[in-house]
Symmetry: C3
Subunit: 357 residues, 3 copies
Amino acid sequence: MTTTFSQRVTHKSLLELAHAVHATIQGPTDLLISGISQLSDATSGDLSFVLKPAFHQAAKASLAAAFVVAQPIPDDPRPQLIVPNPLVAIATLAERFFLPPLPPRGVHPSAILGSEGRIGPEVSIGALVSIGDRVQIGSRVTIHAGSHIGNDVVIGDDCIIYPNVALLDRCILGNRVILHSGTIIGSDGFGYAQLEGRHHKIPQLGNVIIEDDVELGANVTVDRGTFGSTTIKRGTKVDNQVQIAHNVVIGEDCILVAQVGIAGSTTLGKNVMIGGQAGLVDHITIGDNVRIAAGSGVTNDVTPGFIVGGRPAVDHATWRKSQVIQYQLPELRKEILSLRKRLMLLESRLNETTTDS
Amino acid sequence: MTTTFSQRVTHKSLLELAHAVHATIQGPTDLLISGISQLSDATSGDLSFVLKPAFHQAAKASLAAAFVVAQPIPDDPRPQLIVPNPLVAIATLAERFFLPPLPPRGVHPSAILGSEGRIGPEVSIGALVSIGDRVQIGSRVTIHAGSHIGNDVVIGDDCIIYPNVALLDRCILGNRVILHSGTIIGSDGFGYAQLEGRHHKIPQLGNVIIEDDVELGANVTVDRGTFGSTTIKRGTKVDNQVQIAHNVVIGEDCILVAQVGIAGSTTLGKNVMIGGQAGLVDHITIGDNVRIAAGSGVTNDVTPGFIVGGRPAVDHATWRKSQVIQYQLPELRKEILSLRKRLMLLESRLNETTTDS
Amino acid sequence: MTTTFSQRVTHKSLLELAHAVHATIQGPTDLLISGISQLSDATSGDLSFVLKPAFHQAAKASLAAAFVVAQPIPDDPRPQLIVPNPLVAIATLAERFFLPPLPPRGVHPSAILGSEGRIGPEVSIGALVSIGDRVQIGSRVTIHAGSHIGNDVVIGDDCIIYPNVALLDRCILGNRVILHSGTIIGSDGFGYAQLEGRHHKIPQLGNVIIEDDVELGANVTVDRGTFGSTTIKRGTKVDNQVQIAHNVVIGEDCILVAQVGIAGSTTLGKNVMIGGQAGLVDHITIGDNVRIAAGSGVTNDVTPGFIVGGRPAVDHATWRKSQVIQYQLPELRKEILSLRKRLMLLESRLNETTTDS
């Protein structure tokens, strides 16, 4: 197979890039930059970046044309853009100069629009998108091909909805929300009333509210509230294949890594970080700034600021110690058996001694 | 962002609601109800519900206009609908009076229909749905926008297929089946024949059979049988992001919580409940009425009626005790070291004593 | 519900099947075969197969008309096709004689094609497919209904893309790649630069490269590289609901079972096998021929050829021993308490003895 393809290359002057992130330049400045790369992948023409001095050696070996750094790489003649936070600078440069252009504005002729909707200016609605009735869409929104927007949905400004998303009836997006492909917003919560051994569906009448600056990865599922709303608050970022059940509330600026599952009515505070594949049971409260290790199973409330891990999740120090010792169990068992033998021996000797004396 | 939107409010008389669930009314009866809410979210006009007396205090604090209860809330002047099972009553009321209407009947002009199909009366086929050849669709079925129905599929009566579902060739749905968005029925099973270090695909020739009253959540995957069928039996409910492999058989009235994975050819009896993120290996048999704790890894057959947990899953009591002790391991190890020291001391003392005597 | 449907049955002569896999026939040869089945499901007319002599009894009870075997079933008059590897033979027969035909070649009139694309001969593009600009599609490719192909995508020869896939901008498929329904290739990696308590998106400028003979299951997600590529190499097979993060490299001929998650920039060698629901942290290296048990949490590099398991994953023998002992912890604790008591008794007795003497 061939790995080349028709990429349209942009060339940007190093000076322009440096100005955009208020960088001090060390070294030559008359250079054109065609892309951004990690140190190991960079080719001539690329701008790369050094996140800490430990990578100076890798930087010297890199073929990059120039670097963004916090501390200059010693003895390297190539141009270096010095900034306080190289990762933030690279994010800014990537967004301003190297992002592919958004799709053309307007409504593709194959898209299906419902009635009584309101669409803001500079919106792009892609091929084979279907939009329900009474939908409100803000300014500069992009809805990519194949997505479905249900009835009575409200979408704020500058949102991006990638291909094959389903944003279902009555759900609400704030501004600058990004939904990646395959993500489902507003599926029914999992609620049944048990009667005579059968499960009777409790209709799910609520919706989902997603606030400003939230990004949800690919194939995420967010159930609508049974009654009331499932809510994801401002600035929270959610990775692929995360499951968020009905009536969950996720606070501001949280990070949920891939394949996390959160059961119904659980509430997260602000700035909570959850590692991949962790699961949280229903109806618990996770305080602000809590960190939950990957793979944990959280079964109880967690106090603000705590770090927890394990199944069931306990405080981080206890969990880490037990994790180490679990693999010493075979030796511990041997030790216990050996102690028992020695003890029996002592007991019988002491019995003899006592009898003797 | 704004969180208001154009919801079309229905007003129902309390008397009508009470009659529908055969409730005894305590308190005033001349009231109009505009929605159903949980106690904490209710606003004036809402009907709420009390599942147990422990919530009587919360009910008093609630702004709800009326309540569905099993035992009356003492000293509350608001109307109370007394029923034997409040949750069942609320489910009935939600379904009969507060569900949004189904989409209009008929075939949307943008839908693509294959040849030789048979479509029952009062069916709704949404925008941009594609349907293969020789498909049979029963009465009153709703297929929402963007879904795909493969060749030779059979769909019973009163099914609801939400947007962006793929129901693939030759699969069969019973009556009143609900498939939520992003769910895939009939993807290929994961089967390869190893030869000279490479994996050769075993074609997956079977199908999936989903019986009456089954509901599958969002982004669920159900693989077709390699040969024969993968089967989900009557009344079983499956939450989001569950994976069901080829030739699995799931009995009647099971509950599978989110992110569960079941490997190939495993068989579940009736009324099995599996907690979130649990995994079951291939080719095992789970008896009727088994309960499997969230996060478990089941590697062996489970006897009917057993409750199991852990990785690997064992009987519930053993698992729970071990779970507690795992976090006492650091102290147990200390205790063992201390016993060893004391024992050595005793041994040397006894040696001296014996030598002395 | 009815479980019958209009399947078009093919009849093949047993002799033709035997020739196709170079089998020796024992027993009668003048037979027509209408399908392939497992032993227990087979009906008259079916060819079944016996993978090991332990199944000879099941074969005798089976209603199959004929068998593919490595060693003949003793005392069974039915025809037996003797081959060195029955599973490989069955895979070959299933593919050559019993696979449903591919959809008709050509572009469905409802498909939307972008500009400047190049489409090879004998391609099939299904209903309501949307294809971006500058897309290159090889010979004999099948793109099923409802899938979306982004701008600048390259697709090799003989690929099959099932319904409702999203293959996003600039991603590259080799030859004979199979993508199952709901799978997302090229979603953004999960990368943010933290600044003043907020998460700033790092634009994801890379792509995904999927080499020849790779098969990805349903609802899989593969993120694009932040810069550079996420790569899945030749012959690797990935089950449903697997998450592959940005810049991951997966070697040749690996097997990833359902619901596995691999975090960013982790590298797998050749022929690695990962059991279901295992998770791998970011930036680690897994050597060739490593096997990782289902449900493991891998937090460190793994040496080529190692078998690991557990959370955190350790070598297989240690993990298995600890797994067994974890459930003996209650007895071990009792034993420790009993040893302590006996030791105290001995100590006091020895004190007395010493004092006495």
